[in-house]
Structure formats: C-alpha cells, structure tokens
C-alpha cells in the first residue's frame, strides 16, 4: 500500500484536476463515432495539417523526376501485359458465357493520397484524403500498385482511415496462387504476415505467391498479398503458432512496403457475381 501513498499525499487540487482530465478522456471515448472523427479532423487540421502539407509538397518535388522515369518504364511493361490480358479476358468471357457465369465483380477505383500515417511504432493505420463524399465506405479494400494494403476502417466526410494488413486484428481469406491452397492471412512478427489454417499435407513452397481468395466478401479474388518466405511442418514451432501439429507454419513477406505508402486506390467493389 505504501507504493500508492503518493496518491494520499498529493494536493487535493491536483487530485481534483486529475479526476477532471480522466473524466474528459472518458467523455471523448464515449462520444459517437462521427463526432470523434470531426474532433480529430479539427485538431489535425490546426496542428499537423500545415506540417504534413509542407512535407508532402517537399516529397513530391523531390521524387518527381525519378518517379516519372519509373512510371514510364512501368507503363511500357503494363501496356505489354495489358494486351496479353485483353486476349485472356476475351477468352475468359467466352468461356464464362459458355459456363453460364455472370461477371464476378464490377470494380471502380477511387484514387487517394495518404495524408497522415500513425506516427507511433504502432504504424497500423493511415489516413487518406477521400471519404464519404467520394463514395468511400467501411470495409472497402485498399490497394496500391504492388498489392493489397488493407481495408477502410473508419470514414468521415472527407477522410478515411485505412487498416493495414499488419494491424494485429486484421484477417483476410487468402490462397496460394500456384496450388490454390486456401488459408487465412494474419499479421505475423514485425512487418511479416502468416498464412494460417493450411493443413500439413497441403502443397505450399517457398517463393509461392499468396493472393486474396475472394471468400468472405470483403476482398475481390486475385489481389496480390505477398510471397511465401518459409513453410514449415516442424512440431517445435506448433506450440508457438497454437496449431498443435495440424497446420503448416507459413510466413509471408507482404508485397507492399507499409513504411512508404503514398498513393492508394480504394476498390469500390460491388459483388454482383452469382452463379446462375
């Protein structure tokens, strides 16, 4: 009890102030979600806003030439790939028609810029400059040119918060592109991911690409998530992964570099595809 004697010896005025601050914090906590967003947006605008604007401007100027060169090269690569894909798409459409499927997804892309990233070591969310007014809503998938970034966690009228793949509570249904083995993608240690719930007998190898499976209804199928860096069966690791020797321990390196997110795309996914 002696350890807490400081509470008794603290001045009454200080104790009252402490109660006041704690009450203010609790009041903020129980506010409606929308109001919390508005308050955060106002504080952000008058504190971080000018500095982030300056920082973004400097970054833009700095990287513009290199980005231009890189994009030119990318455009070349993509135009070649695009012509191949167009061919495959036509073929796919013909086959789907034969099988009686309708188009699986109608995707509209909403381009957005990252205006702020969580500055703590818990860099699990980023804020983008598109919100409800741009038809962004909760749970929409977010990607960049390298693959899946995350999903929309919260939306206000002009901004939205993106929950990154590495956020501890993030889950997505995924599959190995080569062997079509299904699993659940979860955050792993540090900046890595884990592909869980893959039985020991399944075929997963180092270097395999992991993509979204489309199950669960949040993420459309085929979006790149990352590459398998290790797939082990050893029971020694089972305890740690709480798999009890039933599942593989698969570590995945994400395709996206979460420390350098700038331009993102929100996929306005309208699941229309149903088997007829």
């Amino acid at each position: 009890m002696d350890s807490f004697s400081f509470l008794i010896h603290t001045k009454k005025q200080t104790r009252v102030q402490l109660v006041g601050f704690l009450a203010a914090s609790l009041l903020l906590l129980i506010l409606p979600r929308g109001l919390k967003f508005d308050i955060s947006a106002v504080i952000f605008k008058f504190t971080y806003g000018p500095f982030y604007a300056l920082s973004n401007h400097l970054h833009e100027l700095e990287g513009v030439r290199e980005e231009n060169r890189r994009l030119h090269r990318k455009v070349m690569e993509l135009s070649i790939k695009n012509s191949q894909l167009t061919e495959e798409h036509l073929e796919n459409s013909r086959l789907r028609e034969l099988l009686g499927f309708k188009s699986q997804l109608e995707q509209l892309v909403i381009p957005a810029d990252v205006v702020a990233s969580e500055p703590n070591r818990r860099a699990f969310t980023v804020m983008i400059n598109k919100g409800q007014k741009d038809q962004v809503r909760r749970n929409l998938p977010v990607v960049n040119m390298y693959g899946l970034v995350g999903k929309i966690l919260d939306v206000s009228s002009h901004t939205a918060v993106v929950q990154l793949l590495i956020e501890p509570s993030f889950r997505a249904s995924a599959q190995v592109q080569r062997s079509r083995v299904m699993g659940i993608i979860k955050p792993g240690a540090g900046m890595t991911l884990r592909l869980d719930n893959v039985p020991l007998a399944e075929d997963v190898k180092e270097g395999d690409r992991v993509i979204t499976s489309g199950l669960g209804g949040v993420f459309p199928p085929g979006i790149e998530i990352g590459t398998v860096v290790s797939a082990q069966n050893e029971e020694a690791f089972s305890q740690d992964y709480q798999t009890f020797g039933i599942f593989k321990m698969i570590q995945v390196r994400p395709s996206v570099d979460f420390s350098t997110l700038e331009e993102l795309f929100v996929l306005k996914v309208e699941p229309q595809a149903r088997m007829e």
Partner: protein, 173 residues
C-alpha cells in the same frame, strides 16, 4: 499584465514543447526510424516534464500529448489521453519519492512508461490475443529500448543546458 505574467510564460513554454512534438511527428519521425523501430518522443517529453515539474504538469502534458496522438486513430479518441494522463501523473508523483538523479533511472522510467502505454492500448483495442503479445515483443520492446536510449541522451543535454544557465546566473548575480 497577462502577456508579461508568469502564467503566460508557462502557457507559451507548454505550447512550444507541444509544437515541437507535432513538428517531429509530421516531418522527422520517419527519419529517425531505424529498421521499423520508432522513437516515441511523446513519452520522452512526458517523462521529462513529469520528472522535472511534478504530477500536475505530468497529467496536463499527458492529456495533451495523448490527445495529439489520438487524432490518428479517431475511433479510440480519448484512450491515449487517458493513459498518458495517468502515466504523467504517476511519474510526476514519484518524482519526490524515488531516487531519480541517475540517468539510468530516468531511462528505466521511460522504458516502463512506454511498455505500460502500449500494453494498455492493445488491451483496450485488441484485447488479449497471441498477436498482442507478439506485437509487444517485436514492436514495443525494441521501441522502448530505443526511446529510453535517446531519451537519456536528451535528458543529458537538457541537464547540461540547465547547469550552464544556472552557472551564468550565479556568476552574474
């Protein structure tokens, strides 16, 4: 006159310190991140203020710093303010009860403050899961070591500045 008063001077000092934090988080935070390990300047400032000024300043700064960082996760707005307010008050209260002259003691306080801060955050946001402990181990622990080390350096510099200021005042007075 309010503008020349001690109260105004205190408010101005607090505003400058908080502005420094905002400036750091906006422009410099990424530059001092080493291999994904981030420096938590908010904790360093909070512990410094609490240890030098006591519990009242500790809780005020804790609330303000927490609120400034909460704006990045609006859904938990208020939680960071509450946790940092309590940390500031507790550290400030122990100011006179503990022997904290040693630089290492101050480093240890910063280390513990950061661990408690993150632990309470995760317990509130995600609850107790395997991932929570994993994140604490891989993200919080290295960051706590890094922050404590940099914080000790900042304490050293600040102590030297104070000592030199005191010496000048003493020799001129």
């Amino acid at each position: 006159m309010f503008w020349g008063s001690a109260t105004f001077s205190k408010i101005l000092s607090a505003a400058i310190i908080l502005l420094m934090l905002v400036l750091f988080q906006s422009l410099l935070s990424d530059l001092v991140t080493i291999g994904g390990i981030r420096l938590d300047l908010g904790i360093v400032i909070l512990v410094y203020v609490a240890l030098t000024r006591g519990p009242t300043y500790g809780m005020i700064f804790g609330f303000a710093i927490g609120l400034l960082l909460d704006v990045f996760t609006p859904s938990t707005l208020g939680w960071g303010a509450l946790v940092k307010c309590l940390i500031g008050f507790t550290v400030g209260s122990f100011k006179d009860n503990l022997y904290l002259e040693s630089l290492y003691s101050k480093g240890a306080v910063m280390f513990l403050a950061l661990i408690v801060n993150d632990l309470l955050y995760y317990l509130f946001v995600t609850g107790v899961t395997t991932t929570t402990w994993r994140t604490l181990l891989w993200a919080t622990l290295p960051s706590a070591v890094y922050t404590a080390a940099v914080g000790m350096l900042i304490f050293l510099v600040m102590n030297r500045i104070h000592w030199e200021k005191w010496s000048v005042e003493k020799s001129s007075g």
